[in-house]
Point group: C2
Chain length 208, copies 2
DNA sequence: TGTACATCAGTGAACGCGCGTTCACTGATGTAC
DNA sequence: TGTACATCAGTGAACGCGCGTTCACTGATGTAC
């Protein structure tokens, strides 16, 4: 077998996670049954327990995978944006625009944020999962805070805003935007909110 | 029995809803068992089915109750704020501040938003519940949109923002702020985000 | 090149527990006459 | 004021189904010598 291809088992595991993510975002973790997952993937129940020690391990893997994917997406997106502009502010503004466009292009709208899903089922999970979730959000805070520090060096803020709070606003607005989009069933709400935040960032560092 | 007091049964029903809300926000709807609720309230299982035809009816009642409470809270809050300022902008800014303070004063932080909880378990519920949720968010959009129209009459916006999107931003930021607050376990995040939004509104209608 | 063994990626059957729901009943309170 | 009946707010026992988990096994692939 070609060494570059994933091993047979790793692929099955990935398909389980893929199917599980969809189901968890749609119905929640408790209502996502192992039976349902194995039916979709086409293995037996014992096959599931070969890949995961139990449902709790599935939860951990699911969240970790989501966080990793999200981090990588943000890394490459803002990196690409910075390649177009060496100025940190304009690079960020371009990045936000690209982000909004990416969200607008998702076929059926954004499928949901795993961090938010876990948050609203906190007590189902052990402290490892909750800590994973916490660290992910704090990492996003640091990520954007660093960027705002860089921007503020060249563009002193015109409005009295706390930069940590502004960094949190990205996460809050994305998570909130996903919810409003899903609930009103209008996929444009999320990208709109990102663009609205972008306008705020402009106003803060460039003025009206 | 005094006619002003709630009937015996209505009180039990209310206690069931109270306990259920807490549990649903902590663990999700599917993981909230009827056994658990009746144990907390002190009745038998059949007692539960006297008050609700089934679990689905509990879900509907839970969401409806949450929406009604939230609507009333916003009504009285911004009404009180307007009594202090007859100017629509300054009344709104005062209202936002009062709202932020109210959120900051919640003992263990905000317990969670039922609309968001339902959103992340959509497929558990029938279309009635989903429609209820949708209408609630759209009603919030209309509420704030009307306010922004009133404000824009006297204070032409200095920044190019869509007022419907700005209205949605309130819901998005509150829902997102609740999530970030819960996940990082810092109850100050939510009020901070509301104050950050307030600063944005100032900038839009008053300039820097 | 062949053989022995180990690991991988599962299968199949069984388990017990908790869950939502049903149904026939009941004792306390309220209402009509 | 007393009696008959109706409604309210539950009780108690039983149900079957689906769920997560366990355990002994297996056939295909990989590795050592």
């Amino acid at each position: 077998m070609d060494g570059a291809l994933p091993k047979r088992g790793a692929e099955t595991r990935e398909r389980l996670l893929e199917v599980a993510e969809r189901s968890v975002l749609d119905k929640g973790f408790a209502a996502t049954s192992i039976d349902e997952l194995i039916a979709a993937v086409g293995i037996t129940k014992s096959g599931f327990f070969y890949h995961f020690k139990g449902k709790e391990e599935l939860a951990t893997a699911l969240l970790q995978r989501y966080i990793d994917q999200e981090d990588e997406l943000l890394d490459t997106l803002f990196q690409r944006a910075d390649e177009l502009h060496e100025d940190p502010l304009h690079g960020f503004l371009v990045g936000l625009k690209m982000f909004a466009e990416m969200m607008a292009d998702l076929p059926g709208g954004h499928p949901g944020c795993m961090v938010a899903s876990v948050c609203y089922q906190e007590n189902l999970f052990n402290s490892e999962v909750r800590e994973l979730n916490r660290e992910a959000v704090l990492a996003w805070r640091r990520r954007f805070r660093e960027r705002f520090d860089l921007i503020a060096e060249r563009y002193p803020p015109r409005l009295p805003v706390d930069l940590d709070a502004l960094a949190d606003m990205v996460s809050a607005l994305v998570d909130g935007g996903i919810i409003i989009s899903k609930v009103v069933r209008d996929r444009h709400v999320l990208p709109q909110q990102i663009m609205l935040f972008r306008e705020y960032v402009r106003a803060i560092f460039l003025g009206a």
